[in-house]
Each structure stands twice: as structure tokens, then as C-alpha cells.
């Protein structure tokens, strides 16, 4: 029996996991990072477009600050987000990006003088100030009032992840590659680490730790077409669920990105539209202004994806053997811009479509892209129900995105959450209560259980084919739990998924019987786990009889604050149950800084909660009074919803901006 002890076990070597690792190591705690693949190959590397941080350096970002970023984030979330968490996030994003600048990310910079840009299909000139020259610049992204999305060409995630991984090397952080966590070790409501399987030689290892962090990214691959890397399979969420104790939040909140290429689903970044690209239909007609006259192509992601789908349903899509699609036109940006700022996009078009996007339109359609839901945690990133288990990044739901995440807010979240959660974990590890007093019999029990499961898969006779079950699941998710949802389809989805889940208990690994590296075995146990995750998504979606953010019910088009201003919580307390247990957590209006309102897209169909009015009046009153007294924006904010004290002390200070210095 191989047991490895450490202080902080981190499952996942993407941006979130690595940032936690450097943070706890700085605080003097030992740490080990487990990852399926070399960290630099994590899905974070695929983020092209950028990272939101309200630096306000570039001309079109002037006047930006945490307040505006907060406003955009909450509206984007359709009021589903935890407002305190969103405040903590927007406060720390500028710090995180400045830290990364010092760690080596070559952020694209402001160049003084006149620049020609494309805004609303027209050439315009913007003038960058002398004093901003050389500071980090930003581009426009959907659903934001200011140009706030900082970038390195279109390799933002790549350059961030490389800097972060190199930092981890500098700090001598132990990284165990090709080790897959397949179960959490826990007892009496306390998590003690994980059982991991070595993907090269098949060995099972018990990692025992004071604190365990799941930073395994999203679960997009439960859908057949997704922009996600093929390893984004929700195994982190599944092993949390399988404890029976930890819970998941808002799993039905799934984002579809407007512009993935057809048919393979590889993403072209929102930066294409941010920089001035247009969406066209089969007649070459620019349709978005008809639907969203104000934000047009740069409405929030969920909105653009729905409008595109609506437009295709009207027969305006381009038909192809892979189904209908629309066009993304970036030719108007010019070759020079494309070859410098959208180079990955150009490479993708050349390599996967055989077209030159400076000359030709790109075939696109909305595709599964981001998981807002995940392991439900407190603002400190700790599971609400399983002590010692933490989670952050796309894997978690601490909940800053609510029902729709803004582009550029996710890589930003990974590093901010990583920074903060590292401190909270360190505080926990500093305390005596964190000491590990788990019996070796318990560890052995978990090891044995996992070993038996694997043996069963390899030795079963006349069982099910995991690939068949998995493809069926992916198809159901695609067709019945997609962009537009309705009760009948969702009910069918749940019933069919439940059947698949029951069948999955009987999976057999055909022919390929190796106990070492064995892709068929991996697919078998992951399929069992993915089906559980898919059920939490479909079942949560069926029960939520309203439309909020990316969750859009044709049979319940209203956002129903009166009944549904709540988070969906799913759990799997009994191994023998075949559907998740669902409960709800209220999102209290009484302490909201920004009480629920209209997002500003389409018709306002909100069914308001009676408390909204009361809170709005109170907010208005406080604001009016303080502003009259000449209070600063920070003082007003603090009176409405204090949050600074929740942050680790070292991150409580205000952020400096160019405006502060030159005023």
C-alpha cells in the first residue's frame, strides 16, 4: 500500500490549482499537485481572448474600476451570483494581473498615439494617452461597459499558464503528472486526501493531506460537441459527489459560446467580435442589431447564442452536411490585425477549415463552452458540508458567475480564487484542528474499494460497452439539455440518463485488460462518473422552472425571482440512489449591493420578488445620503455591502490607477 503524506493536496494543475500551490507553499505548507497531464497542457492554455481586470489604462477603459466590473459581473450572472464573492473577485483582479506581470506574462501594452479600430463596423480613431504608454492594455468583450479584457495577443491563457507553471518550478513545488484522482478519502464529515491512479503504470496511491483542493476544471465533455479540451470530463465534481457528503451548486448552469467552428467545435475567441468582427446569416446579412440594437454582437454570451439559434430556426442559417451554421466575418479587421492579434484564430481556420479568415468568412455556431456550476463552496473555497475539502477555478461554484459568466472573467477567476483560497487553506492548516487523525484502516478501506472497482470492470462478463453509454449520454445532453430547454425534453433526458446510469454499473472493459496504461479502462470508470454529473445537470434543469442567464426554458421564459432566486444544490448521499438529491439555497436580497433588476436584453420578463423593491429603496437612500455627504465610492460601497474584512489582510488594500495619480 503506497501512502504519500503532504499538507495540501491539490488535484489539478491548471491556473487555479497552480496558483493555490504557490500560495500555500509561500505560507510554509508542503504541497503536491496531481494532474492528468503536464500542467502546461491544461485546458487553461486554450484561453485565447483575455483576462478581465479593471485597470483602466487604455483610452476605451478610462473610468473603469471595481464598481463597474462588479456591475457587469452581476448583470451578466442574471443576479444568480453571490455578490460578496463577486466583490472580492473584482477587488482582487487588478492585483492578480499585476502579480502575473511581475511573474513574466508579456501582457500586450498600451502604445501612445492614434490607432484605427473597428467599432460597430466602422473605422474609428482612438487616441491613447502619453501617460498610459507601456501599461497593460485591454480589448472589448461581450457584456462589459468598458474595454477591460487584458490579453497577450490571442494566447492569453497560454502565457498565463506558462508563467504560473514556471513559478511553481521556481518554488520547487512537487507536481505528480499523469496521476488521476479517482476518489476522495473522508470520514465523519472530514476530507483527508484522495486515492489516485497512476495513468502510466496503473498503481493506486493514497495521498493523505490536511486539506484537499479540487481544481479540475469544467465538465463540458458530457456534451458531444464542446469547445473544451477532451479531459474536461467533470471527474473532480464526480468524486466530490461520490463522497455523499460534499455538494454541487447550479450544475444546470451551462454556457454556450456563440462562435465555435463547425463541425469540430473548436473555439474562435470572443476577441473576434470584441475587435469588431460581425455575425452574418446565409444572405450575408448582419442580424444581431435587429435583436439587440444596443450591444449587437457584443451582448452577453448567453444572449448572443440564443439569438443565433433563434435566427437559424427562422431558416436564416447556412445549411451544411453538419447542420446549420452562421458566419463570423473578421475580414473587415484587416490582415495585419488578424495576423497580430488573432493569430491562433488564423491558425485554427487554416488547419481545421482550410480557409484564410482574412479573406473568407468562418462557419460558426453556438457550442457548449463553460460550466458555471461546480463544487459548492463558501467564499473561502471550502465545501459547505465536507470539512477540509476545498475547490476553486472552473471546478467550483463559490459563486461569482451565477447563471452566466462573462468572457474574460474565468481565467481571471482562476488566479484570483487561487490567491485567496491559498490563504484560507493556509489559515486552516496553521490551526491544530487541521491535523490528520485518520486511521490507516480507513485509508486502506478506500484503497481496497477503488481496487475492487477496477478489478470488477476488468473481469466482468457480458457487460455494457462504456463507449456506447457515453455517446448516448453526450447525445442526450446535446439534444435535450441545450441552449433552449423545455419540460418534455428535460423529462426524457432525465429518464434516459437514469437508465444509462443504471446500465453503467454493469460496464465491462472489453479485450483491453491491462492494469497499467489502459485507455479503455480509463474510459470505463470515467463514463460511470460522467453519467452522475450529467444527471445533476439534467435534473437541475428540469426542476428549475424559470429562465435565468444561460438556463433558458421555452416553457418558462420569465426570470422568476419570486420563486427561483436560489441556488440548486445536488448531492448523492446514498450510493444506491439513481438520481441526485436536490435541494435549494436562497440567495438573500436583503444584503445585495445591486438588487435584482433588468439586464437590458430583449423584453423584460422578470417576475420580481417582493423584497427587491424594499432593498432597492434602502440602497437608493443610503447612496443618496452618503453622496450628499461627499463620501467616496469605497465608503458608499462599504455602507451597502461590506466585504473587505472577508479578504485575507494582505489583499485588502485599494488598487491604484492612472487616474488616481494624475488627478
Amino acid at each position: 500500500m503506497k501512502i504519500i503524506y503532504t499538507d495540501v493536496l491539490i488535484i489539478g494543475g491548471g491556473l487555479a490549482g497552480l496558483r493555490v500551490a504557490t500560495g500555500v507553499k509561500d505560507r510554509g505548507h508542503d504541497t503536491i499537485v496531481l494532474t492528468l497531464i503536464p500542467p502546461k497542457r491544461s485546458h487553461s492554455s486554450a484561453a485565447q481572448g483575455g483576462m478581465q481586470a479593471s485597470l483602466a489604462n487604455c483610452a476605451m477603459g478610462e473610468g473603469d474600476n471595481e464598481d463597474v466590473h462588479f456591475l457587469d459581473t452581476i448583470k451578466g450572472s442574471d443576479w444568480g451570483a453571490d455578490q460578496e464573492v463577486a466583490r472580492m473577485f473584482t477587488h482582487c483582479a487588478p492585483k492578480a494581473i499585476r502579480e502575473l506581470a511581475a511573474w513574466g506574462v508579456p501582457w500586450s501594452r498600451v502604445a501612445r498615439g492614434d490607432h484605427t479600430v473597428i467599432i460597430n463596423a466602422k473605422k474609428e480613431t482612438i487616441t491613447e494617452k502619453d501617460e498610459a504608454h507601456g501599461l497593460i492594455t485591454a480589448r472589448d468583450f461581450g457584456g462589459t461597459k468598458k474595454w477591460r479584457t487584458c490579453y497577450t495577443s490571442d494566447g492569453t491563457g497560454h502565457s498565463m499558464l506558462y508563467a504560473m507553471d514556471n513559478k511553481a518550478h521556481e518554488k520547487n513545488i512537487e507536481i505528480h503528472e499523469r496521476l488521476e484522482a479517482i476518489a476522495l478519502i473522508h470520514e465523519n464529515g472530514r476530507c483527508y486526501g484522495a486515492i489516485a491512479r497512476n495513468l502510466m503504470n496503473g498503481e493506486l496511491v493514497a495521498y493523505v493531506a490536511k486539506a484537499t483542493t479540487i481544481a479540475t476544471g469544467g465538465y463540458g465533455r458530457i456534451y458531444s460537441v464542446s469547445t473544451n479540451a477532451i479531459i474536461c470530463q467533470g471527474i473532480g465534481q464526480a468524486i466530490a459527489l461520490e463522497t455523499g457528503v460534499a455538494t454541487l451548486g447550479n450544475m444546470e448552469a451551462i454556457q454556450f459560446h456563440p462562435t465555435a467552428i463547425v463541425p469540430v467545435g473548436i473555439l474562435t475567441t470572443e476577441g473576434c467580435r470584441g475587435d469588431g468582427g460581425l455575425l452574418l446569416d446565409k444572405d450575408g446579412y448582419r442580424f444581431m442589431p435587429d435583436y439587440e440594437p444596443d450591444k449587437k454582437e457584443l451582448a452577453s454570451r448567453d444572449v448572443v447564442s440564443r439569438r443565433m439559434t433563434e435566427h437559424m430556426r427562422k431558416g436564416k442559417g447556412v445549411s451544411s452536411r453538419y447542420g446549420d451554421h452562421l458566419w463570423l466575418d473578421i475580414t473587415i479587421l484587416g490582415r495585419k490585425h488578424i495576423e497580430k492579434n488573432l493569430r491562433e484564430v488564423k491558425e485554427i481556420c487554416e488547419n481545421f477549415l482550410g480557409i484564410d479568415p482574412a479573406e473568407e468568412w468562418i462557419p460558426v455556431r453556438p457550442t457548449q463552452h463553460y460550466s458555471m456550476g461546480g463544487i459548492r463552496t463558501t467564499y473561502q473555497g471550502e465545501s459547505q458540508t465536507l470539512k477540509g475539502l476545498y475547490s476553486c477555478g472552473e471546478a467550483a461554484c463559490w459563486d461569482m458567475h451565477g447563471f452566466n459568466r462573462l468572457g474574460g472573467n474565468s481565467v481571471s477567476e482562476t488566479v484570483v480564487a487561487g490567491m485567496l483560497v491559498a490563504e484560507y487553506i493556509s489559515d486552516f492548516c496553521d490551526k491544530a484542528e487541521s491535523s490528520v487523525n485518520v486511521q490507516s484502516a480507513t485509508i486502506e478501506k478506500f484503497l481496497k474499494r477503488e481496487k475492487e472497482k477496477i478489478e470488477a470492470l476488468l473481469t466482468k462478463k457480458n457487460g455494457e460497452d462504456a463507449y456506447v453509454l457515453r455517446r448516448a449520454m453526450e447525445k442526450i445532453m446535446m439534444e435535450k439539455v441545450g441552449i433552449f430547454r423545455n419540460g418534455d425534453d428535460l423529462q426524457e433526458a432525465v429518464t434516459e440518463l437514469e437508465e444509462l446510469y443504471i446500465r453503467s454499473k454493469n460496464i465491462e472493459v472489453f479485450r483491453s485488460k491491462s492494469r497499467a496504461a489502459n485507455p479503455a479502462l480509463v474510459n470505463a470508470y470515467r463514463t460511470q462518473k460522467m453519467l452522475k454529473v450529467a444527471l445533476t445537470v439534467a435534473y437541475g434543469a428540469l426542476l428549475r422552472t424559470e429562465s435565468r442567464g444561460a438556463h433558458s426554458r421555452e416553457d418558462y421564459p420569465e426570470r422568476d425571482d419570486a420563486n427561483w432566486l436560489k441556488r440548486t444544490i445536488t448531492a448523492w448521499p446514498d450510493e444506491n440512489q439513481t438520481l441526485p438529491t436536490v435541494s435549494y439555497e436562497d440567495i438573500p436580497i436583503s444584503n445585495m449591493e445591486l438588487p435584482p433588476g433588468f439586464r437590458g436584453y430583449g423584453k423584460d420578463l422578470t417576475i420580481h420578488h417582493p423584497e427587491t423593491k424594499v432593498r432597492q429603496q434602502m440602497v437608493d437612500l443610503i447612496k443618496e445620503k452618503l453622496e450628499k455627504e461627499g463620501a467616496s465610492r469605497h465608503e458608499v460601497q462599504n455602507a451597502l455591502m461590506p466585504f473587505l474584512k472577508k479578504l485575507p489582510k494582505k489583499y485588502q488594500k485599494f488598487n491604484e490607477r492612472l487616474g488616481d495619480i494624475h488627478e
Partner: protein, 247 residues
């Protein structure tokens, strides 16, 4: 491919070997796959695994040419499999793992461990002992063109193609390769890294570093990101010569 033409039947010859199976030995195995529109080797290998042989080992992660996981020899040439379109190849396609790296099985190699070792050896991070970072204050400025130039070299995805294509490394296994030299060029260019030329000399001023390269150009030819590897190596060599002569 037009709708009328009959699709080609691709013959995929794979060099297979499972080092964990004592009875196995390296051998070629051929799979037949019907070509489809827009088919890439990612799709081909996925179909083989799902329908023909579920034990076939290979690595894909992003499947979009971004993460560098899937480098392999395609008809003898190191490249990223995920973005290789079959229509650009003959019907007979030979696939083999990248040489020089530890073999996990079939087409799957442990390039990650090799790269981890390289990064540690060359200390590929910003060195700045004086740095007192105050993240509440404005970031340090950088000339926009310089930031772009650094990013240009930062685009390496550690796929290992240049290592597999390198003539030198086959004779000198400790040679840092174009990937390593490019990283040094990247940090050397970066004003945030305060290492001196002498310190860089310590790292690469020998036969396993910049003086080992025999300018066979294999690296630049196969780099999927088209990095300017040869000109950077030449530049480093001149600089290191100067430093060496001084010391």
C-alpha cells in the same frame, strides 16, 4: 471531397509497443478507416480506439493545436497530429511515437517529464532578487513592441517536435535542444529577468548548450508554431561567444 466521390479507405500503420507487457515487442499494426470530410488524425485515432482497438494509446488534450500533447511522427516527420488533415496525406499513413522521450505505450510519450527537467535545469522563470512587488500599485511599464517580441518567443508549446527533429540531440542526449535555447532567448530578451550574460553563460555556454547546435535546421522546419529558432540560436551563440571571451 465532393459528395459523389467515394471516400478513401485510409490505411493507418501504427508503431505499437506496450512496455508494461513483458510479452510485447515493437511492431507495426495497420488499421483501415474510412475517410470523412475535414478528418484529422485526432478523429482517425479516436475512431480506431472506439471501434477497432480500445487499447491503442495516444495523447490528445485540446485537440486544437494549442497544448502540444499530440506530437508524433507522421510519415516520419514530427508534427501535431490533432491538426493534421488526412486529405493532405496519402492513403497510407505511418504513425510512430516521437523518439528520444520515454515511451508510455504506442504513440503516448512522457514528454512532460523531459520538459519539466529542462525548465528546472534552465531555470525558466523571472529572476529578480531585488523585486519588491506591490500589487496594489501600477504595474511596471514595458515597450509595446518589446512585449510583442517576448510573446513571440513565449509561444513555444513544449510539444517536443524540435527535439525529435534535432540531429544534435541524438548524439548528445544532454543537449538542451531548440526548445531550451529558445527559452533562454526569451528570458534574455525580458528586462524583468535580471540574470547577467555570465549567468546565462553558466547555463548554456557549452557543448550541451548553444555551442552544441550543429545548425542542421531540423528544429525550425518542424516547429508547429513557426518559431524563429535558428536566428535565435545564432543570436545566442554570438552573445555567448562574446561573454565567453570576456570571462
Amino acid at each position: 471531397m465532393s459528395e459523389l466521390e467515394k471516400p478513401r479507405i485510409l490505411k493507418i500503420h501504427v508503431l505499437r509497443f506496450d512496455p508494461h507487457n513483458p510479452n510485447d515487442f515493437p511492431h507495426m499494426e495497420t488499421f483501415e478507416v474510412e475517410e470523412a470530410d475535414g478528418m484529422t488524425l485526432y478523429i482517425v485515432l479516436g475512431e480506431i480506439r472506439e471501434h477497432l482497438d480500445n487499447s491503442l494509446k495516444f495523447d490528445f488534450v485540446c485537440r486544437a493545436g494549442i497544448c502540444g500533447s499530440c506530437a508524433m511522427l507522421v510519415n516520419g516527420r514530427p508534427t501535431l497530429a490533432c491538426r493534421t488533415l488526412t486529405k493532405k496525406l496519402d492513403e497510407d499513413i505511418t504513425l510512430a511515437p516521437l523518439p528520444l522521450f520515454e515511451l508510455i505505450g504506442d504513440l503516448s510519450i512522457n514528454s512532460g517529464a523531459w520538459m519539466q527537467g529542462l525548465n528546472k535545469r534552465l531555470e525558466t522563470w523571472i529572476h529578480d532578487k531585488e523585486q519588491e512587488l506591490n500589487i496594489n500599485k501600477l504595474e511596471e511599464r514595458m515597450e509595446p513592441e518589446l512585449a510583442d517580441e517576448i510573446y513571440e518567443l513565449d509561444r513555444c508549446i513544449e510539444c517536443g517536435c524540435c527535439v525529435a527533429g534535432c540531429g544534435t540531440i541524438q548524439m548528445k542526449p544532454d543537449f538542451v535542444g531548440a526548445v531550451g535555447l529558445n527559452k533562454i532567448a526569451r528570458y534574455h530578451l525580458d528586462p524583468r529577468d535580471k540574470r547577467t550574460d555570465e549567468e546565462y553563460y553558466e547555463l548554456i555556454g557549452d557543448e550541451n548548450g548553444v555551442f552544441g547546435c550543429m545548425t542542421l535546421l531540423g528544429c525550425e522546419d518542424v516547429c508547429p508554431k513557426s518559431l524563429p529558432l535558428q536566428s535565435k540560436i545564432a543570436y545566442l551563440r554570438r552573445m555567448m561567444l562574446r561573454t565567453g571571451l570576456k570571462g
